[in-house]
Amino acid sequence: MDFGLSQDQEMLCDAISRTLADTCPLDHVRECAEGSVPFSDNVRSALGEIGIWGMMVPEQHDGLGMTMLDAAAVAEQLGYAVAPVPFIGAHVLAPLALAQGGSEELKAHWLPRIAKGEAQIAVAIAETVEIRDRAGVDFDGAKLDGTALFALDFLEADAFLVADTAGRMHFVAGDAAGLEKVALKTIDRTRSVGELRFSGVAGEALADDGGATVRRLRDAGRVLLAADSLGAGQAMIEKAVDYAGQREQFGRVIGSFQAVKHMCAEMAARHEPCRSLVWYAAHAFDATPDEASLVACHAKSHTGEVHRFVARTSTEVHGGMGFTDLLGLHFWFKRIGFDRQVLGGPEAVRAEAAALQGWTQVA
């Protein structure tokens, strides 16, 4: 019995945390966020040396074949540092989709490149959660038509993996004829999402497994968004506690006022159990697939709620400074806001959790 991260996982976290502390200070995050493409070459290559880009690529394709709990531990560190690098889409969902349903040619070509950090495939599955603005991509057996929103790790992607309205994944080359790409600008300038417009685009359909792959991708994405939010929330709590321990008003540090102390305690009290929930959800993805979808829903929706509270409360503890651009606290605030909405806000995800338990008809 050992509930938690293994020694190896803790060492991995330490390595990433040190690398990010060296290569990804706030000034650098700001620089990237203000550029046209958020992704930082420096951070990418530094993290590449630890080998994380291939962590979810199977070993026979030059990856490390690691677990979702490993990936969650990494996502938490990335969230903690608001690291401007592609990860959830390009380095977890894309290799998972290819490994599960891709042809041998696709796997042989793309997986080693993903592992080396030389290729970036964006993943678009938003419409399998909720249809907005009548989006959705139809597959007529040969061509793709329609729109896919919120492709993850979008800018500079070499190719795309997109879900059709029947829940089947398709590989589409970045320069495919009939494909139009439009970046979507979000509150979170440390990440990149975009819109894909298809008019008669020829892609390569992945195996038709009745939506099983899409379901796994959704679960994985939710666990990792929750893990990212966990890291960002942890950072916001630490920053609030530090600030409250330094800032003086009325002749004493504000952290000695119970009103401020209780704000911090509430953040910590709500945040701390999230860690176990996220770890368990990641572990369930690896070890107990029957309950994986439900706990992924719980992790996603609950961290979404808790960290919205943490994000606003930490900002309030910082007073007027928290509201400024100068302090940069908003990068974490926005990262948490992104994590909450993507792949389903809490209400959508909870509705799915209810349906999974037979508590409701699927709408």
Binding site: M1, F3, C264, A269, P273, S276, A299, T360
Partner: protein, 416 residues
Amino acid sequence: MDLDYGPQYDVFREEVRQFLQTHGHRAPDGQGRAARPSPEAVEWQKLLILHGYTARTIPKEYGGYGAEPDILKSRIIAEEFSRAGIPAGLANQGISMLVPTLLELGTEAQKRQWIEPTLNGEIVWCQGYSEPGAGSDLAALKTSARVENGDFVINGQKIWTSTAKQADMIFCLVRTEPDAPKHGGISYLIFSMDTPGIEVRPLKTMTGHAEFNETFFTDLRVPLDQIVGQRGQGWYVANATLGHERGMLGDPDALENRLQALVRLMQKERIGQGCAMDNAVLRDRLVALQAEVAAMKFNGMRILSNSLRGDAGGMAKLVVKLQSCELAHQISALAIDAMGEMGILYHGSEREREDGAWQWNYMFQLGLIIGGGTAQIQKNIIAERGLEMPREPKFATPPAAEQATAVASGQNKGAA
């Protein structure tokens, strides 16, 4: 991450299941919270001790089972009893608070005299800690014990003494050294509730029931040797057990059971042609609570795993009382909302659901949020010990008292 307890534990779990299957029917039902254990409950308790399913690590010579501490086995016992819906051993304040205190700080004679009958349920204890003027600031207690002709003579008032009516004995904090700094003048006494000079008055709460009492002491005489630890050390003696009470208030199995009861209620409670579960808003709230219960359950597994490694619980443990009590309260609140107008039925009304249990719980759980260290005290503890935030500046406190406060700060408590 390894959630397997290992093969030797699977064998143990099977043993527990076998026991429950064979003997489960002998378990008493409906042990009321404030009631003295029935003869059946005492028999059941003795059977559990004999098999090591309660009082497991308490030495044999004091009436326990005498096993080596094994956190996983204790956890398996709790899990299996909870799953079977069969009451585990008695969980009164004598067993959860006095026994650990005696084991740690009692004299040999005290251990031999009190532990076994307490474990068996033959002696019921109540706790005399809180006073009307000493709740969160427990160390401000005023009940006095002066020495006179070889006895302590006690005068004062205690409040929140649950089971005082049924109790044989009380463990009680009194001020024996009125001139010492506030934390240094307290002693921990044990005495019979039949001692002349005790008056117990039921304390009716908002639930309409008297789950607690007020206990008055007038010139009560207690022999000098009925003290646990040294004179003036009572604060530290009592603190040795407060952790046990907090642990008791945050049982993840209990939350899980409450949530399952809520699910059944929402599936059963009719609204028009459908049921409460068909209402999207109620359902959304239910799933949100389910996620929180899951988080607390896994948080409990993390604490368990930490203690197997010999780590203190850290932040994961500090948050349990605050979060679990609030969550239990929210579960009851949703049940009431799911019942709509039916939710207000109480006092044995026509059409009342489950004997008004959800309303009773909703109110009583608010008491639990306040008692055992209020939510606000819990937040101080989380902030000061968990987040290492600065303590409240203290004004006009004599230096000696300051020192004592620093040692024991935060170990305040509200209700007994």
